[in-house]
């Protein structure tokens, strides 16, 4: 009995996107309904898949019935189910927000967003490297369209740079895939994990080049220093709902690093074991430092959040680069937290910008704007989460990472860096908040309440992400239990390999 629930998160948005693009071009109400319905369905589906995956077994789906390693397989384990859920939560909030008028400032917003979701879900589910490349391209080509949505010289200029950087990265991805295929003769991730330990000594150099080229590609997606330069430009100039959705885009890079370097280049990889760790750690530390200095220096709220995203990628990759089960579990918690917090803050930045006519989200004092108190409170919650102060989820995330680094040889570096950069973030966000909300309160005059479209809906959307962040704190126990099990599953790749290569009877 073949069940198709694993392929549904890819097929559903693909079909909806095509239907929206073909039949709902002129009816925005209909497109909104279909798009939201699809996102909610994806959310329910992701919840079902998480509960399915939480029993610890790895489920596979052979596309077209071709057995692995000859055909392409989709693989559902705890990690991929978790990423699907995160994407779906973010998508629902982003869509609720976009309905306030962002989706009418250009064409095809909803179709592109659905294609983006298809690419994201596919990248999280696939068990094949070339297929991963294809899904990367799907999500990127949709993100190019979303990035330029609404137009404007600066946004399109930033969009071109974003496209060029990612196209160059795609070329590198293909070079890496070619190298790995030339050495091992396979593109299936599980099959690669089987073949890596047996690679001849003469081919080790090629194998390592291939694996590290892949690390480079994923580092571009994850905005790791020195490949980070596209991120602040892109995120700060993207339309707000798109920037919020892009918060999960960098995590695709982190996900791919976790997947590749625990499965194929982990404990059992022989000479090539833990290949990534010595490169990843220093780069991640620099990323954290640079991101938080950016938070200090930013002159716009959206730019400040973009640099905070950069810093959070640094923290996340420090935890990943430790490559121990507790550190990975902490990293995944931080991944969930930072995606939701960044999404919420991008939406808050737009809430501010649309209320301050003529000033936007520039960090200067201006007359008080409508709903200043409410938006200010949301900003404080988001900033506290992002900087890692209690009681929000960032505190737990950072605490877990600090605790996991207790036995690392570079513990002193990690601890001092993470704690001092947290201070930088607090100062940066305090500066931003005080000029936007406090100094403005004593500023003479009052901005006219502009005709806001659906303010209740936009505030609900941002609040939804903050609530999801709070839920991470309230349900920290069950969440960390799930994440501990996820990390354990990732550090025992035999289960994954058996499920992919054994279950379909695909042994030669």
């Amino acid at each position: 009995m073949v069940t198709h629930e694993i392929v549904l998160p890819i097929v559903l948005p693909a079909v909806i996107a095509a239907v929206i693009a073909l039949t709902m071009r002129r009816d925005i109400a209909l497109a909104r309904t279909a798009s939201l319905a699809s996102a909610v369905a994806l959310l329910l589906l992701a919840i079902a898949l998480v509960s399915l995956a939480s029993d610890g077994s790895v489920r596979t789906y052979a596309l077209g019935g071709w057995p692995a390693p000859f055909g392409i397989v989709l693989v559902l384990d705890r990690l991929s189910a978790l990423m699907l859920l995160l994407t779906a939560v973010l998508a629902v909030a982003v869509l609720l927000y976009a309905v306030n008028g962002w989706d009418t400032r250009g064409r095809h917003f909803h179709a592109l967003l659905q294609f983006q979701l298809m690419g994201l879900n596919g990248a999280f589910l696939t068990g094949d490297f070339f297929n991963l490349f294809v899904f990367f391209e799907v999500l990127l080509i949709a993100s190019y369209g979303l990035m330029a949505h609404g137009g404007g010289a600066r946004r399109v200029g930033a969009g071109v740079r974003y496209v060029v950087v990612n196209l160059a990265a795609s070329v590198l991805f293909l070079f890496a895939v070619g190298l790995l295929y030339a050495v091992t003769g396979t593109l299936n991730m599980a099959d690669l994990a089987v073949k890596v330990p047996d690679v001849a000594a003469a081919d080790q150099a090629l194998l390592r080049s291939g694996a590290l080229l892949l690390l480079l590609v994923f580092a571009v997606k994850g905005a790791l220093v020195p490949l980070h330069f596209w991120l602040p430009d892109t995120y700060a100039n993207a339309p707000a709902p798109v920037a919020a959705l892009f918060a999960v885009l960098t995590k695709v890079g982190a996900y791919a690093i976790i997947r590749l370097f625990t499965l194929a280049f982990g404990e059992g990889a022989g000479d090539a074991a833990w290949l990534a760790a010595p490169w990843l750690m220093p780069a991640a530390m620099l990323t954290l430092l640079l991101g938080m200095f950016g938070v200090l220096a930013a002159r716009r709220l959206a730019a400040m959040v973009s640099f905070a995203v950069l810093g959070s990628m640094g923290t996340l990759l420090i935890a990943i680069a430790l490559f121990t089960p507790p550190a990975l579990s902490a990293a995944l918690y931080y991944l969930l937290h930072s995606t939701l917090a960044a999404g919420a803050l991008f939406l808050v930045a737009d809430l501010v910008a649309e209320r301050r006519a003529g000033h936007g989200d520039t960090l200067v004092a201006a007359p008080v704007f409508a709903q200043s108190g409410l938006v200010g409170a949301m900003f404080v919650l988001g900033a506290i989460a992002m900087a890692g102060l209690p009681p929000m989820s960032g505190f737990i995330g950072k605490l877990l990472i600090l605790d996991a680094a207790r036995d690392a040889f570079n513990r002193n570096w990690i601890w001092s860096l993470m704690l001092s950069t947290s201070l930088l973030a607090i100062i940066g966000f305090a500066r931003g908040g005080s000029s936007l909300f406090w100094k403005s309160a004593s500023f003479p005059g009052r901005l006219d309440a502009r005709q806001l479209t659906r303010p209740a809906l936009t505030i609900t959307a941002a609040g939804l992400l903050l609530a999801a962040n709070a839920a991470l704190v309230v349900f920290a126990g069950p969440v960390t239990r799930y994440l501990d099990a996820t990390a354990a599953q990732l550090f025992a790749p035999a289960g994954y390999i058996d499920a992919v290569l054994g279950a379909e009877g695909g042994n030669e």
Partner: protein, 116 residues
């Protein structure tokens, strides 16, 4: 033949990287196209170079690896689509800003306020 193919890939890549670094939209597009050609040839070489062999397994006969050919076809299609996208976006950026620079433009060019 190996050295010929390797030289070709190297030349294409080097030219592509050089054009990419010119940071003007037309050279950048050409550079990306050359890079994608280089990687297509490289993918072929990943399946080992062979002449006059069919990509099907025959009894007793030799054969060449069919998988890289499928990969190259996919890569060509994707590269073609992506080139179209980048051309359209570069043209749009040129129309909107009046400059074909792909790197950071000089300040004061845009819709006001700070970029960061």
């Amino acid at each position: 033949m190996e050295s010929l193919v390797a030289t070709a890939i190297g030349m294409l890549t080097a030219t592509g990287v050089y054009l990419l670094l010119r940071a003007r939209s037309f050279p950048v597009v050409l550079g990306l196209a050359l890079l994608s050609y280089a990687v297509n040839v490289f993918l072929f070489a990943a399946g080992r170079l062979a002449v006059d062999l069919p990509p099907v397994i025959r009894a007793g006969g030799d054969y060449t690896d069919p998988l890289p050919q499928a990969l190259v076809l996919t890569a060509i299609v994707i590269a073609f689509g992506m080139t179209a996208v980048v051309v359209v976006m570069a043209a749009r950026a040129y129309v909107e800003s009046g400059s074909d620079r792909v790197d950071d433009e000089p300040s004061g060019n845009g819709d006001g306020g700070d970029r960061w």
